[in-house]
Symmetry: C2
């Protein structure tokens, strides 16, 4: 199995590349990560961004860590992005993404990506606007694939999210999205499936299951996010957590059954900013151990 | 009482200025707001930012809404900002804040502000680094007060947060912060006190109470954030909420007792992105009604 961790765990607490890199390798015993733009905003003026990106790249090299991809975090997810009702705001988001793609290359990642946009409530209720914004999004992602190819990236990842105002949010919509992009992109555009998004019951109902996502999307899946969840929120909890219900071992069997064991799976933990640092550190460590045992099948004492 | 709402409620759902402005005035029956940078990122390239800021200003004018201040939201709070361990990152944050201050003026706000930074775990545990970063922060805020004065703003607001790695986080530290800035700033630098931050028991203990904050900080308080909370998290819930314990009527009496009834108090509601829009809309409406009754003392049917 291909298991790594998203650096969301380091945000605000351990932002120093030399510190998170050492923690990933020595404490968590992992050698692959997903970088998060919550640690370095792609908007940062070029010279400063490049200098900080070089530190990230160096730390990863010093500790023999592969940065599989650089990914949107909470900060960029606060905006409507490429589906904003205002064309100016969509242009702003394109500019952000072009910088994000460059930054991914600068830190030495092979891929970039994230959730790409949300419609306003007003637009979402208007079928003609939905269609227009969808077409626009296809063009934007195709253009980003060209920018990413120029920057030297190998793939672009679009995250499926549990909101009907976002694209893509269902198996059927994700299939159509990938199919509509076919032949338009300069590098492969693949999907990132977050298990906590895919199983969010208030939207998908109590029968939501990972098998449908895995068999429905197959090799269009370019990466996974792992999290513990109660299926009633986009929880991003770790293990153990008395509220959490996600069965990692069962998911591991399903991934192997679908022949997707080589797809990178990143644990994405998001703690309240105010939670004390020791509690967070212990939760990160126990969560990684849990996933190494149950997702990767390692026998650990 | 001086009661308004932070536009956090509109983020991603109702980003169109004409829509949130009408909702604020017609549905919520409020005439003052705090704009959030989660609706328009200060990093946005100048021409696009100015065009979008003009729409905000126009909507506020069309609906006779006063924009008291423009304030940091979740996106900027994801970064360590002016207390980041890397001097490059602190320069990046200063650049963000200069743009934020300009944007505040562009939307027609009188003030700007937000939480200003977080130390890394490593720096926070090192007394010499803490002191150095604190001195540095004082200089940065003093410089921002000059930028804000040039932009035509009347005050700069620094938010107190419930993290010992951030500044300021206690009554004593906030008093010292304001006192250390005395004579250094070109416009008043005041504190924003969020009731859910101030009463966070895991940090401040079970005896935390608003009276201490109000009498300790007095007229150094430039604004409040209201939220419902269980005192165990930075909750930002509304009313009614079966988990919430915050007594708005008691707070209203304390604010009047401290002679601070003219200080702007903004309701700051933060819902999970994935929560359905109708539930959110109802919660916003009932929360505003609750605060108008219990904070402002309006008799509403």
């Amino acid at each position: 199995m291909n298991f790594g961790i998203n650096l969301s765990f380091a945000v605000k607490r351990w932002p120093e590349p030399a510190i998170w890199a050492r923690f990933v390798r020595e404490t968590l015993k992992l050698d692959r990560i997903q970088f998060t733009y919550d640690l370095l905003d792609p908007w940062s003026p070029d010279a400063m961004r490049r200098s900080m990106a070089a530190e990230v790249r160096k730390a990863a090299r010093d500790w023999s860590i592969t940065i599989e991809s650089a990914f949107s975090g909470l900060a960029n997810y606060c905006y409507d992005g490429l589906l904003h009702p205002d064309p100016e705001a969509r242009r702003i988001s394109m500019e952000w993404w072009k910088r994000a793609v460059e930054l991914a290359a600068e830190v030495g990642a092979e891929a970039s990506g994230g959730p790409v946009g949300a419609m306003s409530v007003a637009d979402s209720g208007n079928p003609a606007r939905r269609e227009q914004l969808y077409r626009n999004l296809l063009d934007s992602v195709a253009e980003l694939s060209r920018v990413a190819a120029e920057a030297g990236l190998k793939r672009f990842l679009v995250e499926c999210t549990p909101l009907a105002r976002e694209i893509p949010y269902t198996v059927a919509q994700a299939r159509k999205f990938i199919s509509d992009l076919s032949g338009q992109c300069q590098i492969p555009v693949l999907l990132l499936v977050d298990v906590g998004h895919a199983l969010y019951q208030p939207l998908y109902g109590p029968k939501a299951n990972m098998k449908e996502w895995l068999t429905g999307l197959g090799h269009s899946i370019g990466a996974f996010h792992l999290q513990n969840t109660d299926f009633q929120s986009d929880s991003h909890w770790g293990w153990p957590d008395s509220r959490g219900l996600f069965d990692v071992a069962a998911f591991s069997r399903e991934v192997r059954g679908a022949g997707l064991e080589e797809v990178p799976a990143h644990l994405e933990l998001i703690y309240p900013f105010e939670l004390d640092d020791d509690t967070v550190r212990k939760s990160i460590e126990s969560s990684v151990l849990h996933c190494r045992r149950t997702y990767c099948g390692e026998s650990l004492s």
